[in-house]
Point group: C2
Chain length 614, copies 2
């Protein structure tokens, strides 16, 4: 007997959806987690899957049919999904678990010839849609794809409004390159690829290209828009009502034609047939790709903006160095405050009016330090502050309903960052709040060694992140541990905290391209250890790829560090460090002191001096 209470709200919504599916002749309806631009994070308007399933994780796809419903999500969310789906009647499909079919295999197995698979063609990427097509083909199933309508829209009462925040212009002195220069770079790439035009749908690429920013996704300073670029013309499709007059003038002065966001479909339909259009199928929606492929030749390539954006220009780098220093000062001050406060609380004192510090109040305090920086705009992602075993969950987010109170022992892991006029930061430190166990010291020390070894990487031009990843991972693999995720990702410039194509990761995926590390690319360096039920450790700096010497063997490359926050000597036991790593640690800590101490109070400075042996 199932004793779980029924979630009647969700069940009623699903009933309405099934009714509508029946009316429309749709047998299976798929609801992913995406907006019209296949963004990594989406605004509330796009949380359709959450509305129909109660599952709030950042990754998951709901599939509904007359007799049932299933939700596919990944390992980060198994426990949460089980809880949130309880009573909804929705079956949880644990992705990448033995014996669990992926959604394509499930559909190919379940669906019968002549049936219809429905989805909103605007929220499934062209490459994903094509994977489903291929799956059906190789299973020899004749399936109709109905992707012209969002069946959820009329059902969803009080749907949040479509995001339409303020748009602002990044001045050239902050951007380092004018929109004209950027357009000419993109046009050169179009010619190289034999394309006449580019239909650009990826929001951060659009922001970069047009030197604008918005606020339509939490922590991601992007505005909902599309772009269509030819050799002679550049059109932006954007909600005109949100544009202030000076933004309209800016577009005008730069020869950018502004069209209404909603008009993009009719614009694309009206393009004279026979164009060669470059399209990035990972980001363009299935619906638009189908529309364009109908009358044009599609050149399937990565958006040329991606690589251009990834390589930061001299102005961007110079601003980033300054902003990262200020951000590092804020984080260092926070660490000092936290460590001393924990001692005060242990002694029965009150700190900032609080008798305890929680994961939430710690995060709030850190935000307060960041807000003190004049260039601060916003956080670059919701702060992850995980105490003890909570930190073992890589994407933990404390909530008002559920969060831990800090104790004067063990680790607090804090992964955080800011959006500034001058860059986007991302930094993680794991802070000993008091005594830590021998095992925790071992893990902390090995993580630090991995981070430092990656910092000192030197390689010949031509390497990708797959060549270097082992430098950070080696100390952990040697003791039989791993962190089950990449070592690092690219970081935007006053943009999304995750960007590509550069990354540091090791897994080989057949057919997936890799990005050669180019001077000017920034990348995080964040090895970790996550022991379920016990503790989580991560140490994360941001670095920039730079040129070293060039000789007959080629161009040697290395990293320049941007993040200057001390490592926690209370958690390091040098007996676990190699001789080389000891030297690297000393050098890093001393550099931190030199760079940070001028911006600290006397007490903070004194503490940092001891912490860094400077």
């Amino acid at each position: 007997m199932d004793t779980k209470p029924v979630n009647s709200v969700i069940q009623e919504r699903l009933t309405l959806l099934r009714k509508r599916m029946h009316e429309k002749g749709v047998d299976y309806y798929m609801i992913p987690t995406a907006d019209f631009h296949n963004s990594e994070y989406v605004s509330d308007y796009f949380k359709v899957r959450e509305y129909f399933s109660n599952f709030t994780g950042s990754n998951g796809t709901l599939l509904v049919w007359q007799e049932g419903a299933g939700l596919w999500t990944d390992g980060r969310y198994f426990i949460q999904a089980e809880r949130e789906l309880s009573g909804t009647g929705i079956t949880l499909f644990r992705m990448q678990t033995e014996g669990v079919p992926d959604i394509g295999a499930f559909l190919a197995e379940q669906m019968a010839d002549g049936q219809t698979l429905g989805f909103d063609g605007r929220v499934i990427s062209a490459s994903e849609g094509r994977r489903y097509e291929k799956k059906m083909e190789s299973a020899n199933k004749q399936i109709r794809f109905a992707y012209g309508e969002d069946l959820a829209d009329v059902i969803w009462e009080n749907r949040p409004t479509f995001p339409a925040g303020r748009v602002w212009v990044v001045p050239d002195e902050l951007a380092g390159a004018s929109v004209a220069e950027k357009l000419s770079g993109v046009r050169a790439k179009l010619s190289e690829n034999g394309a006449e035009s580019l239909f650009l749908t990826k929001l951060d690429d659009l922001m970069w290209l047009f030197n604008i920013r918005g606020c339509d996704v939490e922590c991601n300073p992007v505005a909902m828009c599309y772009g269509y670029i030819t050799q002679n013309e550049a059109v932006i499709f954007i909600q005109k009502r949100v544009l202030e007059e000076h933004v309209v003038s800016y577009f005008e002065n730069n020869g950018i034609r502004v069209e209404e966001y909603e008009e993009v479909t009719s614009y694309l339909e009206a393009i004279i047939p026979g164009q060669k259009i470059l399209l990035d199928l990972r980001h363009c929606s299935y619906g638009f790709a189908k529309l364009l492929a109908d009358k044009h030749t599609i050149i399937e390539k990565q958006n040329p903006t991606e690589l251009l954006k990834a390589v930061k220009n001299a102005t961007e780098l110079s601003n980033m160095r300054k902003i990262y220093l200020k951000d590092s000062v804020a984080v260092t001050k926070f660490i000092y405050w936290l460590k001393t406060s924990m001692k005060k609380l242990a002694d029965g004192e009150i700190v900032d009016g609080m008798q305890t510090i929680t994961e939430l109040s710690a995060a709030a305090k850190l935000e307060e330090f960041r807000r003190g920086i004049p260039e601060f705009l916003d956080l670059s992602f919701p702060t992850i502050a995980g105490y003890g075993a909570n930190a073992a969950m890589m994407h933990y987010e404390a909530t008002e309903e559920s969060h831990a109170v800090l104790k004067p022992e063990g680790f607090l892991l804090v992964d955080s960052g800011g959006q500034y006029l001058g860059g986007t930061t991302d930094v993680t430190r794991t802070i000993a709040l008091g005594p830590v166990t021998e095992e925790q010291k071992l893990h902390y020390t090995k993580v630090a060694q991995g981070m430092l070894q990656m910092t000192h990487a030197k390689w010949l031009y031509g390497c990708t992140g797959r060549n270097l990843d082992i430098l950070a991972r080696k100390p952990l693999w040697e003791i039989g541990l791993d962190y089950r995720c990449g070592t690092g990702h690219g970081v935007g410039y006053i943009l999304n905290v995750h960007e590509g194509p550069q990354s540091l990761r090791w897994r080989y995926v057949e057919g997936v391209g890799e990005a050669v590390l180019e001077a000017g690319m920034d990348v995080t360096n964040e090895p970790g250890v996550y022991i379920e039920g016990s503790h989580g450790i991560r140490t994360e700096n941001v670095m920039v790829v730079c040129n070293l010497e060039k000789n007959e063997y080629g161009q040697f490359m290395g990293f320049e560090t941007l993040t200057w926050v001390p490592l926690d000597m209370e958690a390091i036991d040098e007996k676990y460090l190699s001789e080389d790593a000891k030297k690297m640690l000393t050098v890093y800590q001393q550099q931190v002191f030199e760079k940070i101490s001028p911006y600290l109070t006397e007490e903070e400075k004194q503490w940092l001096k001891e912490e860094t042996n400077a």
Copy 2:
């Protein structure tokens, strides 16, 4: 004024070829270095390019047209090619040099619509031929490909005979798996890939599959043959006249149908149309691929034999351990002989009747030690013995006409191996014959450190050689050096010294697949330093991939070393070694002593004890 003497022999041959090209309506004729099986090394019969160009290197393509001729070769052979082409009128095209077009680009540039490109369709692989087709397509050139005839054959007087050496059967107790087991493994892979049959053209894969060996290519124990495998049948196309009766019986007893080598074409032509045939386009000739594609569905995949062959079975591994030990003893005895002989010669003594030792006599002495091993069959490749600056040429081969006399100073690099009943070996040691410079010590020590670091690699299952390569290369990159080639390659079992798909290398090549390192794969570990005009250093061991612990993070992997030859302590300065590397060195040297010393004379043992600090 060109004062170089004219090479009239070559010029006359080219004149005859041009005449024949004219008769056949061929405008450009291409002669690569390959046999009908796209083997890495070829027998004399196939040295057509050498006959028409005088260039003897192992890699190069000759292109002939009415007004000229060009030879494309890689960096290893620039100096040699310049010398050998002198007076032939052939232009040298230095591959991968700035401003030098590759042969495809050159053809696409030079050839006019309606012209004909000719080549022997049996000696160009399908994938190479397809690259030329694509090149012409993207250059919008209408070019005819004439690949049905070997225009050189009637011109070449006294052409060496087609190779047809003795064929022998590898007994199951040496092979570790019967031909029936191997065929069933291949058939399972065919089903997996949706193929009904396999046309197998790669000689070492054929030897492995049928448990036979030949001697049709120097040092490569292969016999010229083809195979056609279906779910019910296995056919070998081989020169019947070379088969001794017991070999014929062996095939018969194992249900393998034997057809004449020359009949393969008519056999393929007669296959009932509409088959799904798996074909490895890298190894199948352009001609056969065209023939089959005409009437069948080609499933383009790697030969399934390649991966099956690469993972050595328990019997193979057990035999290899024994043979590598014996081979290591031979090399160690040689090093002792060489070092003591150099001292004796310096003291005016005569050694083995010689007043000097040369690169050639040193190689001969090493071969003598190997021939003393009962299981010895042949060398696995012509020994590279390079003294001083000669060793800076990675593929140096001393000849009777040109070789160095050894002096009691500097390095002799010796890269050598044997074919044994029980395995194929490949080992390099660089031996100090007397004093070496400080720079040479630095380089030798860093190479040793790289080799040792790779030996101790530990990783999670899923890594390919591209993940690990940096472990060996790091000490050299750190001081601004590189060795411009991969770190390691797979090694056959009583087969070719180079085999795939496994390798240790770092360069990312878009679209080129990588092989995950599987337990049982063997791979060389051979970092080096090559300073033109000065010295060359390489240290090479062979290792086998093995499983270490398995836990919640996955299967950890490591290497087992097969080669036990001491490193030269006279060339190592420990001040250049990290603490970790010092320990690794001590461990390796002591293991060498433990394993090798029981097979040495008292004097050798005493020397080895000192050399290894054992």
